[in-house]
Amino acid sequence: MKGTAGPATHVAGTGNGSAQRAKDVQVELMGHLIYYFPESMRSGARVRTTVPSGTAVGHLSDLLKIPPQEIQVFLVNGLSVRELSTVLQPRDQVVILPVISGG
C-alpha cells in the first residue's frame, strides 16, 4: 500500500465486514506519529486507519498505541476537540497532530 492512499486498514477495528465499515471512523495520523505504524501502512507522511464509532477521543491513544504525551491535538471534522470524553460518531473524520518542537 506504500505510496497510495489505499483502503482503510484496520489496526484496532472490531470487524471487517462492509456493514461494520460504514460505522467506522476514519483516522489520519500525521508527523512523527506515523512511525508508530509499520511502513506498509504509511503513505508519504500520513497514516490512515479506522476505529469503531463509539470510541471516546481520549481512548484513541490507547487503541492506536501512541503515547498520549506525543499528541498535540485531535481534530474531529476539522475542529479541535479538547473534551476527551467526546464520543466519535459513524463517518466522523479524525486527524491526530503530534506535539512538535524541532530545535
Binding site: 500525521m30 512523527h32 504525551q69 497532530l97 518542537s101
Partner: protein, 651 residues
Amino acid sequence: MTYAAKTPDVVPEGAPEKTPDKTPDRTLGRVLTVDVTTGSVAVQDLDRSVVRQCLGGSYLGTYLWLEGSRLEVDPESAANSLIVAPGLLTGYPVMTGTRASFVAKSPLTGLLSESTVGGFFGPRLKATGYDAVIIKGSCQASSYLLIDGDAGTAEVRRAASLWGEDTYATDRVLRDEHGRDAEVACIGPAGENGVHFACVIAGGVDSRAAGRTGMGAVMGSKNLKAIVLKGGKYRRPDGPKVLGPMMRDLMSRVNEKAQAFMQYGTAGGVISCEASGDLSIQNWRGGSFEGAARITGQAMWDKGMVTGHYSCWGCPLHCGKHVKLDIGDRAGQRSHGPEYETIGAFGSMCLNDDPSYVAAANDLANRLGLDTISSGSAIAFAMEAYERGVIDESMSGRPLRWGDGEAVLYLLNEIAYQRGLGAILSKGARSAAETLGPLAKEFAVHVKGLEIPFHDPRAFTSMAVNYATAARGGCHLEGLTYFVETGTYAGSNLGLTTDYEPSGSEGKAELAMKMQDFMAVFNALGLCKFLLRAQVTPDEIAGWIKAACGLDFTGQELLDSGEREFNLRRLCNVALGMTRKDDTLPPRLLSQPRPSGRAAGVVPFLGKMLDEYYRLRGWDAEGLPTLTTLERLGLLEYLEKLGIRRRVLRK
C-alpha cells in the same frame, strides 16, 4: 612573537569566603580580561551583587560589555569587545549546565547581541576559573587565545598556519597540540573573511555552534582564530548532598518525556513541524512539502546515514547525531548530523528533499563557520531572486534552481569566500535586499536584520510577537513559545492558564512575555532549553542553584532577573534607534498566508498582540520602557549610561 602573562592562582575549591554566612556563596566571582593587542592580562573580582543580579552567561556578558564599551562602536573594529561567559550553573553537575555565551555588538544586526554554545567548552571555561573572559582589542596577526587553568595563565599565540583552515581541522590541530582535554572554539574561513553571519564552532566534528548574529565575524575582525581552554577543575557542590536526588528526579521525567528526542534529536521534528504548518518551505512561500518525510531525522536513520549519538558535557539527552556523508569529496567521512533548523535551511527552504545534500551542506557550513539558519535563508532568498529575474546567471555564476543541492553547496562557498553574488549575500538578507532593489525586499525574511529561523509565526502566532520583539531580532530561542502552543511545555508551569488556539491572538502577548523572561534566565544560567520537555519550573531551578552554588533565589526572583535582562537589552536597542517600527515581521509573514497545509489561510494579527504586549511589559505605545517600569526593575541608571534619558523623560 608569543606573549604570556600569569594570572593569580585560582581560588581553591570550597575556600571560605571573606564573609561567611549560613548559605555561603560558592560562585567564582572572577573575570579575566585579555587585551589581545598587547597581550596584557588582568583578573578582577566581581562584586557579589553583580553575580546576584546578573547570574552569569548572556546577562553577565551584556552587563560587562556595557561597563567597558560604547554602543556606537563599529562591530568589526577592535573597540567591539567580545565577552565569553559560562552560565551560572555551567560546569556544575546540573543536567544541561553546559552553555557559554558570546556577547558583542553584532555585525549582522548592528545590535548588542549574544549567542550561546553547548558542548564541553562552557564547563571547561568555568573549570579554568572564570565567570567571564573579556577579550579587548585586536591581534596584530592571526592568533589564538590559550587559557590554562592549571598554570593560571592566559596567552595570545600566533596561529599563522591555522588561518584559512576549516573549523574541524583547526579543532584537530589545536587539540593535538594542547592535549585531549583541551576545548576549542574557533572560526572558519567565513569568520576570517568577515561574513556577517559567521559562527563560532566548538567541539570539532561533535559540533556545537554559537551560531547566530555573527560572533565568528567579531572574532575574525580581531584576527582571533580560536579560543583554547585547558586544565582547571570542574566545579562540585560542597554543600549538603541534595543536588543528586534532584537530578535523579529530573532524569526520570526526561526518560518519560524525551525518548523520541533522544533517539532522533531535533531533526526528528521536521516531519511533525511540516504537518503542523510550522516548517518553512520555499523561502516561506510554501504550505506543504512532501519531501519533509525524506529529510526528517527518522528518514536519515532509515537510510542508514546516522552512525550514532553524542552529548554535550554530562547531558543524558544526547540529541547530537553523527552521520556518514555519502556524496562529494568527503563521501564516507563522519560528520555532525544536521539539526532541525539546518534541515529547514538547506532542505525545505530550498525545496531540496535529498538528505545526502542536506548533510553535505551542513558539513560544509560547519567547516566554513557559517550559521546554517542565516545561510539557508540567504540561499533560498537567492533562489527566489533568480526565479524572479532579480538576478541572472551572469551575477550568480550558475543557475540557482529550487531543489538543486549542488547550487546550495556552491553558494555556501561563494558566501564564505565573498565571491560574486556570495559577497552580497554574506552581509545578510537585509543588506542583500538593499543592494538588489525594492522587489527583493518583498522576499527578504528577517527581523532587525536577523534572518528568521524555521518555525512559522503563521502556524503558531505567539511566535509573531516573539520574533517582532526578541532583543536580537528574528530569534526563536528568546521565546520558544510554540513549545507551549503545541503542548511540549505546559504553560501552567509559569502560571499561564489559557488553552491556546494556534491561529488566534488571545493570550499570546502574555505567553511571549513570560517565556521571554524565562528563556533569558536559561541563557544566564547556561541551561539548555530542551529541558523544557521535562516540565522544569522556575522554583525547581532555584533549588538547583541553591544546591550547586549556595545562592538563595525564589523562582519569581529568577523570572524578575530575566525580565530585567530583557528590558536592559531593550534599552540598548532603543539607544540604537529601534522603536515600534522595527518590532514587525517581513511582509511575507504578515500579509501572505500559507497556501496549503495545517496553517493555510492564517496571518498573525500582530498589531493587536503588540499593543497588549507593550502594555503588559510596561512600555509605551512606541515600545519604550516607561520610567515606572525602569524604576521597578532597577534600570534607571542605564538611561544616563546609554544616552536615552531625554527620550524616555519626554514621554
